[in-house]
């Protein structure tokens, strides 16, 4: 059976690839910024700089929410259809 999704995938086989790469890059960006925040907070706020600690925490929290949210757009895994023998073309 052919449906819209499948014919789309067949017409643009690289689309999920690009989407996945984009999401992973975005996540890496978020995590790097968070590491930067945490590093700064450890250096700075473990002493008495509470404002810095709170600011970086809020930033880090928002970034974490953003990375959870972006996970929703992960493309579904490609499954070989049931009942059909797996194709061997690429092996």
């Amino acid at each position: 059976m052919s449906d819209y999704r499948r014919s789309q995938n067949e017409a643009h086989p690289n689309k999920t690839n690009t989407l996945m790469t984009g999401i992973i890059l975005l996540l890496i960006l978020f995590v790097s910024i968070q590491i930067w925040f945490l590093f700064g907070a450890l250096n700075n706020a473990l002493r008495e700089n509470l404002a810095f600690a709170i600011t970086t925490f809020v930033g880090s929290f928002i970034l974490a929410l953003a990375s959870f949210w972006v996970l929703r757009y992960l493309p579904d895994p490609i499954r070989s259809e049931k009942g059909k023998a797996p194709e061997r073309k690429d092996l």
Binding site: M20, A45, F61, A64, S67, D90
Partner: protein, 172 residues
């Protein structure tokens, strides 16, 4: 018909019918999810710092502590002492000039090496990675230390030297 198929596909392949495309796709999904998890963990870590500095602030030194007699430390010399609180913290007392005294924590703010006063350079030196501090303010002059040295206030009474916690309004 069946035999033909077995000839084409080796046993190990028909036992594990996993397409390469599918396998790599799934692992990247998992990688992305782990990145999300890491992101959450980092946010929690940052929250931990907030909680730590809100509810468990570093204990202030209470009262005045006797260090030594003024005559024990000539000008340009430093004196090592430690104060026992919840933990033993080593300090150095520096006699900069006549009636100019400073007291700092001895642990370098970089990786906690013991710092010392170099009268010839008029700087506090950390020998580990060549970090230098201003002996008058404790500020970092050069090198890797990220923060100034924590300072105590020196109180002179008659011939004796005492230290106490620095007034918070002096912290910038």
């Amino acid at each position: 018909m069946k035999d033909e198929k077995y000839e084409k596909i080796p046993n190990w392949k028909s036992d594990f019918p996993i397409e390469r495309k599918e396998a790599t796709h799934v692992s990247r999904r998992e990688f992305a999810k782990y990145l999300g998890l890491l992101s959450g963990a980092l946010a929690i870590g940052n929250g931990g710092i907030v909680i730590k500095s809100l509810y468990f602030p570093a204990e202030e030194l209470k009262g005045e502590h006797y260090v030594c007699n003024q005559s024990d430390v000539p000008v340009g010399e430093m004196f090592q002492f430690s104060i026992e609180g919840s933990e033993i913290i080593p300090y150095i007392l520096i006699h900069l000039e006549e009636n100019e005294w400073r007291a700092y924590e001895q642990k370098c703010t970089h990786l906690a090496c013991a710092v010392r006063y170099r009268a010839d350079l008029d700087k506090i030196e950390c020998p580990c990675h060549k970090g230098y501090f201003n002996p008058r303010t404790g500020d970092v002059l050069q090198g890797p230390p990220p923060r100034p040295l924590p300072q105590l206030e020196v109180v002179l009474k008659e011939n004796q030297v005492f230290v106490k916690a620095k007034e918070p309004n002096k912290i910038v």
